[in-house]
Amino acid sequence: MALEICWLDDLTKAQETARKVNKPILLDFYNPQ
């Protein structure tokens, strides 16, 4: 099972999803280097 990530532009969408599925959002700030 792979981890599915909603990317940056989807933060608003992630909030909508979170409301719909009653789950919290895990926001991960990371350095890709």
Partner: protein, 152 residues
Amino acid sequence: MGAVTYPDERVAKFLSLNFVPVQLQSSNHAMMQKFAVSWTPTLIVLDADGREHYRAVGFFTPEDMIATFMAAKGRWALDTDQLTDARALFEEVISGYPDKEAAAEALFFLGVAKYKLSHDPKPLRETYEELNAKFPNSTWTKQADHYRLIGK
């Protein structure tokens, strides 16, 4: 996190089932500023309204990741008044990861959830006693210290 923890099957399954995961690069200065993030990795648990319920900085092993963020989800459930769910999550951390620091946090908030569900302060004192026995050096034990006076 991307090299070891996220590829771990248990972590991927846990996060996919329990969270809506979002990644933001540190080059996104607007979002770094908005959430007052100054170092990576920073992991923040938000609710659907964008309110923050938990924050952690630094790297996690797969087991620590699951234990810590199961407790963090419990904090979200507690804050959003889903008390029965919060109690179940804290109990799962305590039974599944008894030696992790997250278990001390879960124990602290299990007492809170039980108190909110019952309006009986006794679980708070029991929380302190259990914390003191199992995690004498934890900051959660110190933060629960005043509960020992309940009912005395």
